[in-house]
Subunit: 268 residues, 3 copies
């Protein structure tokens, strides 16, 4: 199958301003054969953790050799380094501020991280406010032309990761996590994985699983429209995480759910 | 002219979340030469009727052989069937919940509808929450590679259509319709077609046409800026339907117009 | 390097409605090999000045021979002319209402402006409400196939430009400008250019530069995160203009900044 170089974009630049279009202009100027796909540009402004989850959960749906550009960068212009990482068959380009924490956290066995220092690839060397246009986009486009990663700088080991909320297995029969992301439908995604729930179930296969949000018990469904019930329910979502929802409603605003709210699973 | 396979997307997934980007990743993984065009992703959540109008009025502006993917699917995971339809030179893929009612309603003379059952095309067989990614996108991408529609399943006749609001010719000289869609400019589109108005005029060519919204008479213009008048006016819009507007204003909020509001035409 | 025809789009059509998707359908029907890039579709409805600034500041980031389609057109259907302009290595297509004022204002030395009259390129001759679809898109797509500009109409000299707010050098040591654009981060961009500030500094190289918004003095920074100070600051932005911002905040709403607010620079 023909290879067509593909770059994904994940930013907090939104859709109102020309920032994203300009980055595409820079990239197509370098490699006119590129295929650029928007993953999302509506990461909350300066939402590093949200960006980390978004790219970490979704990059695998793109073809091998895809280059994932992530520009959520409150520290632009300061000393934080621009990075190029390779993990498995995917490439990642963005600031060294933790946006790749989910990628880096998957274990270093096939991970290589390069500090980008080859300024001859940059559109402008002195770019204190828009490195998305001047540094990251041109490096992604040049990489897409087939350059090797060692042409971009030196391998480093001390790249930055941020603390991401983890689940806590409290005892044999209970697990505690929290709400980490909301989507447009008001669904509230937690950090509790399907596999963690299966592990818990393994303790007591006949046991009954109960899910609680702030003390309220929530029924577990298989799909959104399973019951014509408009109250708060839970399911395993398409990313493999426990999610709270209201069928034909919007869980987060209706039940005042916020990021960080505790979700508990008990086996009895 | 070279054929380049084209897929359009119409969804209620919005632009905040990575759902649409992920669907594109799945499609480009199967067919890297694809051209994917967003028709809109801001269908109101679960707005089946809005999706039906949107694809029904706009598919014809795309090249022959275009594949139109429509994913507005509150019943995802339930028993409702995934469909692949061919009408004229266009293909349609989406759930069997009425989103193709305008396509199906154009008469069955060259319409073929297939219930998609060939699970070997799916990304995941068991996809209770995101068939846009796991079922519809891969089928659209595989179809774009040149497969025949009978490879996707069996032809069916009992596909689902929804009731769409119809106009009523009350007597020789009057016609009643309703507001069906609002756009970003606050324009309120009705279901009254230009051709229906022409038919009415045919009754009494010298007669005067009066348009009423909730009892208020509205002048008919040819284009938005025809008069520098900021009051509520009507014109035949670019889709061939009667539309209510305010020049340099926003008709729907200013005049509190809602979907379903009655619009009447009288010939006197 | 291979040439791949590229069209950029700048409109006030937003992302809720199918208008933009339909224009792309029309263009891909004429030239399936096109690459279409959204610059932005969220120009404020009928915001001719905003469109003029947006295309004027950003077209240069796209490859030579790019065709820039700008459709912000409150007068659609009236007598205002459709234009095709060539300036340097870039093409511009849109209404003759001032949206290209920044392009035209760069001096006529290599500027050619054509009044588009070749109706055989139009999708519909009589298009009172959606010339983006019926006139501008097909002309852009036909131009991308390699046609010469004189096939579209006659050269004109009396094209329309709008008054754009200019800076005023009050005396040797002061300069007055105003806020012209806000971005998603609440940054307020002024019309004061970096080069104008450098000229002012040239007067008194050791002098201290003071920036005022409505009488309030604002410190000048080099990049957003330079101080961990959350009060109103200024910097030279990535387009080369003075911009007001709040680090990790949103200057425009927090300080009630509006378009047209006076910004003054004093050298002392």
């Amino acid at each position: 199958m023909l290879h067509r170089p593909l770059i994904t974009m994940t930013t907090d630049f939104g859709y109102d301003d020309p920032f994203v279009g300009v980055m595409k202009g820079v990239m197509y100027s370098i490699n006119p054969l590129l295929n650029i796909v928007d993953l999302t540009h509506n990461i909350n402004p300066q939402g590093i953790q949200e960006a980390a989850f978004t790219i970490g959960m979704n990059y695998r749906y793109f073809p091998a050799k895809a280059i994932h550009l992530v520009v959520v960068d409150p520290g632009v212009g300061s000393g934080r380094r621009p990075l190029l990482a390779v993990s498995g068959e995917h490439y990642f380009i963005g600031p060294d501020n933790g946006v790749f924490s989910c990628i880096f956290g998957q274990g270093p066995k096939d991970l290589t991280v390069v500090h980008i220092t080859s300024e001859h690839f940059f559109l402008k060397k002195d770019s204190p406010t828009f490195q998305g246009r001047d540094v990251f986009s041109p490096c992604a486009a040049w990489l897409s032309t087939g350059l090797e990663i060692d042409e971009f700088g030196e391998v480093i080991e001390d790249y930055h990761t941020i603390h991401l909320p983890v689940t806590v297995r409290q005892d044999d029969r209970s697990l505690k996590g929290e709400v980490i992301l909301m989507d447009r439908f008001g669904n509230a995604m937690t950090n509790i994985k399907k596999t963690e729930i299966e592990d818990l179930r393994g303790v007591l296969p006949e046991g009954r699983l109960k899910i609680f949000l702030n003390g309220r018990e929530i029924p577990l469904r298989k799909y959104y429209s399973q019951d014509d019930d408009r109250s708060l329910s839970a399911l395993i979502n398409s990313s493999g995480y426990l999610e709270l929802f209201v069928y034909r409603g919007s869980a987060a605003p209706e039940y005042n759910i916020r990021r960080g709210d505790a979700v508990e699973i008990l086996l009895s």
